[in-house]
Point group: C2
């Protein structure tokens, strides 16, 4: 039986869903994977730094006031020395990094992850920024410390994209991929086809909890672009920066244009694609495109994501994820935890 | 650098495509996986038993006459003592088992696999029969000998179904699946919707090389049924026998019925499904069903396969494989080879 101390950096929706999922899978982890865990630390901007090597109960984590459990440190959340001290106090083996970060730089998450890896702690991140901006550095740093940097939830929530290629497609060379990766815009396009205005469509996505207060990051295609970069970086081993992706958002599309296109059987989708060029570089784009009805992308509505992969040996492999929720996204970090424990 | 001796039992389309694929991936296996191999044996009903510990070249394997390379043994192909002697002569570490077998019993492939595992040889099989009729026995036997029994190509050719669940979905519990798994009938239904008669549709599938001379195994739903059993046995850990699957083939469907159904927007598909019941058993069926056009199964035409999975944590994960060819199917055994070498 292997035992791991787990620490949570960032404790919003994903972190809380993960704590819940871990708790509900405790017996299964023990029986199927010989794996036991104790949650020994939680830190978040609004909560401060909390450590208890004896472990927090699920109730304390999800319903209690962490402030009453341990002395609350007043050091700022971006203080890397405080992070180091906290990691030491938690005796963590694995850090679940679910902080909010700037997707254009990956910071401050990259600094957090680097600090934890340098301390010999495995890192499981749900953030795509660090993958896009520092994947090769963090992967190599982890290897040099004998730990792992895993990030399954960074793209397509619970759908196991990264592990599919890493574990199940070891000898396939990815030539290109194409898909729909942003649920806010995908839902908005569906709404606007049915006559909703831009603002109404944004509100619908916000009400469903999938769009941010400021929807520009989704609407201008940035979110999809960062995901394309993350996929190209890891799956095609090519450090594709978001700025190198041809990007166009959906602001230019009106309800009239969208409903007419749907009526004519060629609906608009915010299509992501990437392709390896003969010279080894990767060309990628994110932009609204009209797709024929027999294209799998045409039938991908609402919050569903889809990816089509072309490989040297498998000509068309399609993976899609319907109706993800917070637990689905928390599944990625859980799977990463099992993966790193398996390879100890 | 790890080195493996490989032996091929059965050398038809899949075996030959695999030999070719291995050869074309030789440099990649060395560089990415620290893996070297020598093909030291080939045996098939029509070829006899061939062993050469020094290794066969790709040209000898694919274009040469193996009979001129080694003394051809006259012992019958089903002689397990001959198999044991041949395995010893080849000094094989891995047996690729691609023989023809009786899908209703899994024999003689089960005997071959058992014999190889008992001799401490890893087995990679493309056959679904042994999975359906002896999975738990063969898996446990392999474990007791410190080797692996892997079978990725048994269902959906190159699409990594088994390894997806084994490696990438370690903590998801599969509740049900649904899909299209037989390409002959799927192609026939499409042809018949367009007016082809039953015999014409069979001939089309035969001309494309996907249907056997006797198409009953496909047409009566047996092939799909055996695949459903294999999936339930491995992915749901429930030994579901093909006889326990409610089975109905496509003989009852006429071109008129099919084209009308398509016209009315509810085309027929040979739908496979399996679901875990509250008492832990698994209920499964294979039968023609009318599906609505917004069902992913409705748009799965020709030789494309599709599977939709419902799990406790991921509510809808869809995997589909377009236009598989012999190299795609050979990819399964190649991936299995890398998997077993990784875990040495």
């Amino acid at each position: 039986m292997a035992h791991y101390n787990l620490a949570f950096l960032g404790f919003g929706n994903v972190g809380r869903a993960l704590a819940q999922l871990l708790e509900s899978k405790r017996a299964e982890l023990r029986e199927r994977h010989n794996l036991e865990f104790t949650i020994t630390g939680v830190a978040a901007r609004r909560l401060g730094w909390h450590a208890n090597p004896g472990g927090y109960s699920a109730a304390e984590l999800l319903h209690g006031d962490l402030g009453t459990l341990t002395a609350r440190s007043q050091r700022p959340f971006t203080d890397l020395a405080a992070l180091r001290d906290w990691l030491r106090a938690t005796q963590a083996n694995v850090l679940f990094e679910n902080t909010s970060m700037n997707p254009h730089t990956g910071q401050p998450a990259i600094d957090y992850i680097r600090t934890a890896l340098e301390a010999g702690v495995h890192v499981v991140s749900a953030n795509k920024g660090p993958v896009v901006h520092a994947y090769h550095e963090l992967r190599d740093l982890a290897a040099s410390k004998g730990v792992r940097f895993l990030h399954e939830a960074a793209v397509m929530g619970g759908a196991p994209i990264f592990s599919l290629f890493r574990e199940a497609l070891p000898a396939a060379r990815l030539l290109s991929f194409r898909g729909i990766l942003n649920s806010t815009t995908n839902l908005m396009l569906t709404e606007m086809e049915h006559g909703a205005g831009f603002d109404q469509a944004v509100k619908k996505a916000q009400d469903m909890g999938i769009a941010e207060t400021d929807p520009s990051f989704d609407v201008d295609g940035w979110d999809a672009t960062v995901k394309v970069s993350a996929l190209a970086t890891v799956l095609m081993d090519y450090a594709l920066k978001p700025e190198a992706v041809q990007r166009e958002g959906i602001r230019g599309l009106t309800p009239e244009v969208l409903s007419t296109a749907r009526l004519l059987g060629r609906p608009y989708k915010l299509v992501c694609q990437a392709e390896r060029r003969p010279d080894g570089t990767v060309a990628a784009s994110v932009r609204p495109e009209q797709v024929p009805l027999d294209d799998p992308l045409a039938r991908c509505d609402g919050a569903t994501s889809i990816l089509l992969f072309q490989m040297d040996v498998i000509h068309g492999l399609t993976l899609s994820e319907l109706h993800p929720d917070a637990i689905t996204t928390a599944y990625g970090p859980l799977a990463d935890f099992i993966t790193l424990a398996r390879r100890r």
